[in-house]
Amino acid sequence: MNGHGRMKLPAPNALVGGTLIAILLATAGTGALWTPYDPLKLSFREKLVAPGALHWLGTDEFGRDVLSRLMAGAATSVWISILTVTLAVVMGTTIGLFSGYMRGWTDRIIMAFNDALLAFPGILLALGLLAVLGANKYGIIVALGIAYTPSVARVVRGTVLSLREREFIAASRVMGNGEGFTMLRHILPNCIAPLTVLATSMFGYVLLAESALSFLGLGVPPPAPTWGNMLAGSRPYIDQAVWLGIFPGLCISLTLLGINLLGDALRDKLDPRMRGAR
């Protein structure tokens, strides 16, 4: 009864979140093709220039244009995040579907391994994998992709198991449909909603993890700009050039805010159990 009145208005969190993400994607898209200055071009005469008419967001310690680097960084971060999320979703969905489909001992063993991988908290597994794979753009994608696969697998398997209890799955079996057909026709399509919610918030986690790793110097190596390594580079100059520390962080925060708001809105809309909880 609660929702009826508010349903008609667009949820404010969806609106704000959507706008922020649209701006991010537009920036990343533009940044991949065009930036005001060359983000890599050194210009020692113009180092540490404060934000102004020529350099809207100032320049860094090598005289590189901060706005250009932020735009190029957005392109890199978004691209890495999209690839990573795709990798994790594809691998996790495959494992989760298979495990939920097989059930029994196969399921137990797969899930025991899956849960053990989930026992590596936060970015620890990614750090360990980076130690093996080497710190570079592709290392990050593979490391984070593997690190986030177990949580996708868990969600998908959970969804599969709860869907199997629903009567429409029993109905499909009574019709004479095979298990494989039931899986593809009835179970997989019904996993899409929870996967959408998960992928959205995971995009945020991955972007944050990528920034954190780059911040630690284990991500995309300089001179290629990412928001994380720009922030790390700003640390020594923070007292003379505040803008170096402000803008990359602001970009990350606004992006994450947008994703969190959008994620809340999506969850409200797609997950009936949480409906009304907000």
Binding site: D115, P121, G128, L218, A232, N260, A277
Partner: protein
């Protein structure tokens, strides 16, 4: 209750074993001679040969794992390549530094955020609720390494109240030591407040919709009795689990905060080891943090029946 505890503990054992296998396999995935990796470039042929026999490299992989895991259980995590120290004491020393920050931050954040979340849920959709949820979402969206940098900029550089670089152990000089801890703790505190508040609010909302809350009101109980006596305990379970996850995740991700504030903690140890290719330390850190995480969650699980007696009955 006893059976419940025993079952939970027994369920953690295979997880620990698989964690150990994963760490072992991960390091073995690195191309090259494991003995060479463990000793670094300066190893002598004699020490290499010695380590090869000790690691059982001429035997099958499961046997090698058995030898390695046996050593781990005896507290022998090997020796750091760069510092030549034994790995476990090194990890423990660094762990204490990180643990004090994480623990204090999470306890403080829970003390503030849980009541705030409950009240936000109770006043759902009021200006207070929207304000609290908005603030929480904002806090949770700011990455800790930037939040730390902002605090540093403001309290350290602009106001000059707190030291900017360095670290002094509380054990050596508690006054100075405390000053170095304020900002890292505040950083994590602010961030986790956002996380915990949202969870506390969501689980309270779930509970407030249930009949027993209306039943409590129908008895004539005051709103505060309904909220704290009936709703709170039932709503706290999920938040309690989340607090466990947060504790562990912070241990895994604290490297960034330690980097901002130049604190010699466990996270920094791992990152430096990755840079230095100090594999014994990498292996030790991963194993230690993952084990700690499993144990913290085990303790959290064992306490869960306090909030929901149904769990122990299953």
């Amino acid at each position: 209750m006893f059976r419940f505890a025993l079952t939970r503990i027994a369920m953690a054992l295979p997880t620990l074993l698989i964690v150990a296998v994963s760490v072992f396999v991960l390091i073995r995935l690195i191309p090259g001679d494991p003995a060479q990796l463990m000793l670094g470039d300066l190893a002598t042929p004699a020490s290499l040969a010695d380590l090869r026999t000790r690691l059982g490299l001429d035997q099958s992989l499961p046997v090698q794992f058995g030898i390695w895991f046996g050593n781990v259980l005896h507290g022998d995590f090997g020796q750091s390549i760069s510092s030549q120290q034994a790995v476990l004491p090194l990890i423990l020393q660094r762990f204490l530094v990180s643990a004090q920050i994480v623990l204090v931050a999470v306890v403080l954040a829970s003390l503030f955020a849980v009541p705030a979340g409950v009240i936000a849920a109770w006043r759902q959709d009021s200006a207070l609720d929207i304000g609290l949820v908005g603030a929480a979402t904002l806090l949770l969206s700011i990455p800790t390494f930037w939040l730390g940098l902002l605090l540093l900029l403001f309290f350290g550089l602009k106001l000059g109240w707190l030291p900017v670089v360095g670290y002094v152990s509380i054990a050596d000089d508690w006054k100075a030591g405390l000053l170095y801890l304020v900002m890292p703790i505040m950083t994590l505190f602010l961030h986790e407040m956002g996380v915990v508040l949202r969870m506390a609010r969501a689980s309270t909302l779930e509970v407030l919709r249930l009949d027993y809350i209306t039943h409590a009101r129908a008895k004539g109980l005051s709103e505060s009795a309904v909220l704290w006596r009936h709703a709170f305990k039932n709503a706290f379970g999920p938040t309690w689990t989340l607090i466990g996850l947060v504790l562990g995740n912070l241990l895994g991700g604290i490297a960034v905060v330690e980097t901002v504030f130049t604190i010699p903690g466990l996270g920094r140890l791992l990152v430096d080891a990755i840079f230095a290719r100090d594999y014994p330390v990498i292996q030790g850190c991963m194993l230690f943090v993952a084990f700690t995480y499993v144990l913290v969650n085990l303790v959290i699980d064992l306490c869960y029946p306090i909030f929901d007696p149904r769990v122990a009955a299953e």
